[in-house]
């Protein structure tokens, strides 16, 4: 069974939800601790949502310096699949694994919303299973999710198909070009503001659309684990 590592930083909140989602999708969830320096042979890593270090300074700016992040950054550069959700996305941007930065919502409020999305890149290891169903409803919940980058970076992201998902039917935070998620050049590192781990069961979420992230990575890493 593939091992998906889920990192807990001080102030991480959705780590349990990611564990549940990985298990629901049929994988093994492995708890990784920010202060360690050991990736425990996982096949992929998720940086979960939350308020690492209380969102002090800028979201993700302090977590980026956690001991484990050195290993995560190295692994990312070698092609290890990494998914950053919300605060995890912020950490990936602060670590310069992804371009751009997530800033205060244009309306200045924290907002929770069942958000409609369109997946535009279904070739990454995290999004492959959106290929037949590129429309999804997944919760967003954040105060600082407005994606910002300069025009050249945005043009390049679009030209190279690295905008993995966009907000549709309303932009919840003023994100530039309605960007909800992006990936790196290699496609192994993905950042996403909405929370797929909260959309795995209609009993507790608006849909089961988010499950595709977790099934995608399990299929993608299945070969590796053999």
């Amino acid at each position: 069974m593939q091992r998906i590592g889920i990192v807990t930083f001080p102030g991480s909140l959705d780590d349990h939800d990611c564990v549940r989602a990985v298990i629901r999708a049929g994988g093994e969830a492995v708890a990784l601790w920010h202060g360690d320096s050991d990736l425990q042979n996982v096949d992929a890593i998720i940086l979960p949502g939350g308020f690492s270090y209380g969102d002090a300074l800028r979201c993700g700016s302090i977590a980026r310096f956690a001991p484990l992040m050195t290993d995560v950054i190295d692994a990312a550069k070698q092609g290890m699949p990494i998914l950053g959700i919300c605060n995890g996305f912020q950490i990936l941007c602060e670590s310069h694994l992804l371009p751009g930065v997530l800033t205060r919502n244009a309306h200045l409020h924290y907002r929770t919303k069942d958000q409609a999305l369109r997946f535009e890149n279904t070739k990454t290891v995290w999004t492959a299973n959106f290929v037949d169903q590129p429309y999804a409803v997944i919760p967003t919940k954040h105060g600082e999710g407005r994606y910002v980058a300069d025009a050249a970076v945005l043009d390049d992201l679009e030209a190279t198909g690295r905008v993995i998902a966009r907000y549709i039917n309303g932009n919840p935070n003023g994100s530039m070009r309605d960007i909800a998620g992006v990936c790196n050049e290699a496609g192994n590192v993905v950042g996403l503001m909405p929370h797929p781990e909260h959309a795995i069961d209609t009993l507790t979420g608006p849909s089961t659309d988010g499950l595709a992230f977790f099934t995608s990575i399990l299929s993608a890493t299945a070969g590796v684990a053999l």
């Binding site: 909140l13 959705d14 939800d17 308020f51 924290y110 907002r111 929770t112 919760p139 919940k141 781990e197």
Partner: protein, 756 residues
């Protein structure tokens, strides 16, 4: 620095003038302290007694009345009752749940963001101190008129504070209330509820036992937060130059609290504490005296070991400081290394500040000098008790006589139609999303129901589907008209809100928000309210597990409406069977319960005529029990598709909310009833349910068996709500009106410093 006021010095200088009055003590209270100690108190002791004997900590005006709750029949479900940090109830399968509601009204008026934020922080620590993992919060709020300048000042900050703190802790916000009434202008009510879960064997209590065990203070460092009053003592200690400035406002640090939660849970899991207590009002004074008082020995504390944020604090100030995010634990010496290691892992500051002793005294030293030597019970549990004068206000008769009978009422279908559009948009009945979308209700992944449902519902056990539901309610207008009946209506409504989700009501926590206890009229309201709650709980067979009293909510001579906020907790065997409130297409609508033309104290009278008078709706608690029985059965057997309780705004409001929730219209027939009273009256003990068309009989048979009156109201479908023979309104028009109110009031509020 001038000399410390030691016990020895106090014994030798009986005649020194002490600032007991400035500290809020009465002359006879001060005399009693001298009698207890057989000398004058030291300034540190005076500080402790004054804060612990305050209304807030000692419940001196309310104690005699709260006894009524203790006299209720013992419930098997109640594992821990009133008196501990929070009550604990058994919900089956070895699970227990603890929940409590508390007020943070005045701090939120002074500094809305921080006041509300620390309100959440404080109630969550109460839950942790029972050994439980906090799993959710709720926020019943009351403000002055929606368009009043003071409301615009406080509401955005209060909501942002609850959001900022609760979201950062990772606790889903699963419900609350937002009520506007001029009586709360200058006295907003910020009540906060937290709920936690634990296994029976993990229960912790606040007591210091086992001589030689260590007393550990952990969490945030101690600063001069919230010690305004005690500065009179500090100025004596500090001589002429006076004390450094002390903050009047406490600032919360949810990140530190989140670490404290995880740290405590890991400590509990390793079974490393004998007793634990959170630091709230009265800080260390309270924690040390309560732990010692509840234990079987004494306690000794070296106060200079307390980690400080501000090195200039005097010992009196350290004892009184209300710095947030702190806990106090009693730990066996053999376990202290492990305890401190877990604190270090979570980057939580911890210090051993003392130990449990053989004796029966609480002693506190400051750099080797004894500054406190008291019997802890006299500080914590044997404070003054008052039987305040009680008198039914003379104005009560006139108030009850001033009914809605004489108010003009809409006569034609066209008039009712206009009213129907206005009513859904009143600040009290409108969509609360502007507030609730600032809260995270998804975190932890166990939220089954949250706003705008009648109750919040959380899954406790993923294997079995066992869960709980909680709702808070309290209609201040009904309580003003008749506090006894109003309190019963509040219990009934919260109970019913649990029932309509399919959960089984089990226990109550209450937050009693009142004016000054020194006003005999207020004390009458208070006494009536408690009797009302106690009698209702007795008849409904639900246990009161604890609560909170907030007095002095008044501006000048004018008190707020008596406002008991009642939280009812229920259990759900399998959350997959929960009943939501949103209607679906092609369902038959049935109204259960009796509708009378009860308009006194209604939202209609208030919103349309600014009128409060007459008598509140009748209560029928046996009816409420039958409804709960019906709905438990309906959930278990899948008899209904949706259900919504009828309360503020009456049937019309419930119908509109459930139609908007499911994006579906409805056609209803209410003849032979007169439409206005039927749609807007607020009779209690009612709900509207939706059943799959064609399968009504299975439900109505059960209603008949329980003697529950019911009528077939109509059918869902289409995109208008039509009241046959009277009027119809497109659902989108209703939804637009319902949604527009709060954004138009508060999006236009210019930014405040807190938002920057």
């Amino acid at each position: 620095m001038s000399a410390i006021d030691t016990v020895e010095r106090a014994a030798g200088s009986p005649a020194i003038d002490q600032p007991w009055a400035e500290l809020g003590l009465k002359r006879d209270e001060y005399a009693r302290i001298r009698e207890i100690l057989d000398r004058r108190p030291t300034s540190a002791e005076l500080a402790m007694y004054s804060v612990m004997w305050s209304e807030h900590c000692s419940y001196k005006s309310s104690k005699v009345h709260l006894k009524a709750f203790g006299d209720l029949p013992k419930s098997d479900a109640l594992l821990v009752g009133i008196g501990e940090n929070a009550g604990v109830v058994d919900i089956g399968d070895g699970w227990a749940v603890t929940f409590k509601i508390e007020s943070h009204n005045h701090p939120s008026f002074v500094e809305p963001y921080q006041g509300a934020a620390t309100g959440i922080g404080g109630i969550v620590r109460d839950i942790i101190s029972m050994g439980a993992r906090p799993i959710g919060v709720m926020d019943p709020l009351r403000f002055g008129a929606a368009d009043a300048p003071d409301t615009k000042r406080v509401l955005p900050g209060i909501v942002a504070g609850i959001s900022g703190y609760g979201n950062c802790l990772g606790l889903p916000n699963i419900g609350g209330e937002t009520i506007f009434d001029p009586c709360y202008s200058g006295n907003p009510l910020v009540n906060a509820l937290a709920v936690g879960v634990l296994r029976h064997e993990d229960l912790k209590l606040a007591k210091a036992s086992g001589p030689g065990n260590l007393v550990v203070l952990f969490g945030a460092r101690t600063g001069g937060d919230g010690i305004g009053g005690v500065s009179v003592l500090a100025s004596e200690t500090f001589g002429d130059e006076g004390p450094a400035k002390r903050p009047s406002v406490q600032v919360g640090d949810p990140f530190t609290e989140k670490l404290l939660i995880e740290c405590c849970l890991e400590i509990f899991a390793a079974d490393l504490v004998v007793g634990i207590q959170d630091l709230g009002g009265a800080g260390l004074s309270c924690a040390t005296s309560e732990l010692a008082s509840a234990g079987d020995g004494g306690m000794h504390v070296e106060l200079d070991r307390v980690p400080l944020r501000d090195a200039t604090l005097s010992p009196e100030e350290i004892l009184m400081s209300e710095s947030q995010e702190r806990m106090c634990a009693v730990v066996e010496p053999a376990k202290i290394v492990d305890f401190l290691a877990i604190c270090a892992k979570w980057e939580v500051t911890a210090a051993i500040i003392g130990e449990v002793t053989d004796g029966d005294r609480l002693t506190i030293d400051w750099h080797g000098e004894r500054i406190v030597d008291v019997p802890p019970r006299t500080v914590a549990h044997e404070g003054p008790v008052y039987e305040r004068p009680i008198m039914r206000p003379q104005s009560q008769d006139a108030l009850n006589a001033d009914t809605t009978d004489t108010l003009p009422k809409p006569a034609t279908g066209a008039d009712i139609r206009k009213l129907a559009l206005r009513m859904v948009a009143t600040p009290n009945l409108c969509d609360k999303s502007w507030i609730t979308q600032q809260y995270d209700h998804y975190v932890r992944g166990n939220t089954i129901l949250a706003q705008p449902e009648d109750a919040g519902m959380l899954r406790i056990d993923e294997q079995t589907g066992r869960g709980i539901a909680i709702s808070t309610d309290g209609n201040g207008r009904f309580c003003k008209l008749d506090p006894y009946v109003g309190a019963q209506l509040a219990v009934a409504e919260a109970y019913r809100n649990i029932a309509v989700t399919g959960a089984k009501p089990l226990a109550v926590s209450d937050c009693l928000n009142f004016g000054s206890p020194e006003d005999a009229g207020v004390m009458w309201q208070f006494q009536q309210t408690i009797r009302g709650i106690a009698d209702a709980c007795r008849e409904l067979e639900i246990a009161v597990t604890g609560g909170n009293v907030s007095f002095y909510n008044q501006t000048g001579e004018t008190a707020i409406h008596p406002t008991p906020v009642i939280a009812v907790l229920g259990t759900m065997d399998d959350v997959a069977r929960r009943i939501p409130m949103a209607f679906g297409p092609d369902q038959t609508l049935i109204v259960i319960g009796d509708t009378r033309t009860e308009l006194d104290g209604s939202e209609w009278a208030f919103a349309e005529h600014g009128h409060i008078g007459g008598r509140p709706p009748r209560v029928n608690l046996q009816r409420e029990r039958s409804i709960a029985q019906l709905m438990t059965k309906a959930a278990t057997n899948g008899l209904v598709a949706a259900a919504h309780d009828l309360a503020d705004g009456g049937l019309w409001q419930a119908l509109v909310e459930s139609c908007i929730g499911g994006s579906v219209g409805a056609r209803v027939e209410i003849a032979p009833f007169e439409p206005f009273g039927f749609l807007f009256g607020e009779s209690a003990g009612r709900l509207v349910v939706a059943v799959k068309a064609g399968s009504e009989a299975a439900l109505t048979v059960e209603c008949d068996a329980l003697d529950l009156p019911w009528i077939r109201l109509g059918r869902t479908g289409g995109d208008v709500i039509e009241v046959a023979g009277s009027f119809e309104i497109p659902l989108t028009d209703l939804a637009d009106a319902w949604r527009a109110t709060l954004p138009s009031l508060f999006d236009t509020v210019e930014v405040t410093a807190e938002a920057l």
